[in-house]
Amino acid sequence: MTERPATPPPANTAPVSRSRYEREKRARYEAEQFLEAKSRELYQANSALRKQAESLEDAIRQRTSDLEAARIEAEAASAAKSIFLATMSHEIRTPLNGVLGMAEALNDTPLTPAQRDMLAVVLQSGRLLQSVLNDILDLSKIEAGKYDIEEIAFDLKEVVQSVEAMFSLKAQEKGLEFKISFGPEAVGWIRGDPNRLRQILGNLISNAIKFTSKGSIHVLVSVNVEGDGHELVLVVKDTGKGISEEEKIRLFKPYVQSNPAISREFGGTGLGLSISRRLCQLMQGELTVTSREGHGATFTARFRVTPINAPQVLRAEDPEEELKRLLRACPRRILAAEDNKTNQLVLKSLLNGLDLTLDIVSDGSAVLSAWNQAPPDLILMDIQMPVMNGLEATAAIRSAETLRNLRRTPIIALSANIMRQHELEYHAIGMDGSVPKPFRKEQLLSAIVHAFKHAPTAPSSQGD
């Protein structure tokens, strides 16, 4: 800063005049004054900058704390929403369980053709309501980061064909050509989430049928090697009305259908594509669309899977047949705890005609005393019950078994709470499985079969 300037080279050595000397002196004085003025300006500019930086930092601090408050508020609101949705799901599922269960049971009784048609509408509407409810719950779980993707070995072709079976009739009714083809790699077993595959593929095919009035729907299922893993690619191509650029923007946004008129014309929650895309993303993939208005649309879903060798197991038989076979070998007694009269009736109807004894009690403490008198072969346990809930009753039974060195009675949870965290909780407390409400006959029966097949046949000698 105070570095001394290089001495100017001596131009000539002749004596300098007085006036020249004074002029030089004045010039130096002015230079020094100038420097001092500039220094002061610089100082003032620096001060202003520092002040500005400080006020900026203050503003940032304020903004940060505002944002933090907003975040906390938003998180609280989101948590409240999740709790509300979980509660509502329980409240809606219980009566829906009653409606669907009774409708299914009614289906097994002699009906006139007209009654059967009416019942078909009841069942169809009930299942539609159930799927809407599932959509809303799915999205809220995805948004809350509580959605669990399963890793299960399954036969790719079989799962895809089960989806095909669901839609081929509908396509036929609309006079559409509906074809599913498989790429060379898309054979055999893979590890992934078959239910999410069904959900995504089902959603894309359902949309394609919905928005195509003539022509065809082609589905191509292929498996690509992608880096160090494999990617399942589902391409669903239709010859429908297509999607405008404007509609594409809104296509994947939840609760927004590309055009409000669509919900009037075609129905639906507008959640399907948004859920499917999120599911693909959860499985390290993506859902994309290419389309031109009036020229059909092509949706491409891709996500990670792991090809595996086909497991050497026999195809599972129909659970009802299997249960019947098990019961022929040995009749069994089932104890059910369910406080809701409608659900009691549903259980009775679903298990009617099977060679088993069904005792129903309506709270946890009644289960405990019934179990004390004579342990059944299986307990179906509702979770939310008065007096003593299902979890408390299960815990009491498990500790009594250990204390008294008794055979372990299989316990299956019956619950409208189907969130994964609940399943884990049930398992931790000693339950052997769970059946979500409203239950389908097939689900209930296969859970019972599974429990019977895995139940210890003799009292556990060491009481482990």
């Binding site: 800063m1 105070t2 570095e3 001394r4 130096r28 020094e32 001092e36 220094s39 002061r40 100082y43």
Partner: protein, 200 residues
């Protein structure tokens, strides 16, 4: 730090003792020129063998040892004792301040107010322009309405110069005062206290 670096370091930054603002050198030479003429001053500067060759700018900083060398040489040349020369120079310097920085003086009712403002007003401004300036410390204490005790502390042996400044300040405000000086023995720095009592 090797010799190479030292060699490249400009003389003004070499810590030969401490540094003094260039304005002090410029004004000392100006006072000397007024007193003994330019030729005599040139001669003295040539004889002193100064690292700066006697070229000083008001905005630079230069070794205090050179200032002392100049004071000694001027003292020898004029026969004025060094302490007296420093005191006279202090008064000269004060006049220069009044001339160059009148803003500091206009709102001060008397010399005591001016002296009391050195640390918190004048030096604050100096540091704005010269953040590297090594300024002495001036502590002041009011001793009633017409008296003030000023303590000067500096690593530089310029207590007599300081006395000249105090006297110059009293002269400037015109109100006569008695100035008592008391030295404060201190091994680490040069320190003394001035008690200024206004009269009349």
């Amino acid at each position: 730090m090797g010799m190479g670096l030292l060699h490249r370091t400009p003389p003004t930054l070499q810590r030969m003792g401490t540094l003094v603002k260039g304005i002090v050198f410029v004004e000392l030479i100006r006072m000397a020129e007024t007193a003994i003429g330019e030729d005599a001053v040139d001669q003295i500067l040539d004889q002193c063998n100064l690292s700066t060759d006697g070229a000083y700018s008001t905005v630079g900083n230069y070794p205090c040892s050179e200032l002392m060398q100049l004071v000694e040489a001027l003292s020898n040349h004029t026969g004025t004792p060094q302490q007296e020369l420093q005191r006279l120079f202090g008064k000269w310097m004060h006049e220069h301040f009044v001339h160059s920085y009148p803003a500091f003086f206009v709102d001060k009712p008397d010399a005591l107010a001016m002296l009391a403002a050195i640390e918190d007003e004048v030096h604050v401004e100096v540091r704005k322009l010269y953040p590297d300036a090594e300024l002495p410390r001036f502590e002041t204490e009011r001793m009633g309405s017409d008296a003030l005790r000023l303590t000067y502390r500096s690593p530089r042996p310029l207590t007599d110069f300081c006395q000249g400044l105090v006297e110059g300040c009293v002269d400037h405000f015109g109100q006569p005062a008695e100035i008592r000086r008391e030295s404060l023995p201190n091994s680490e720095e040069h320190a003394c206290a001035f008690t200024v009592n206004l009269r009349g």
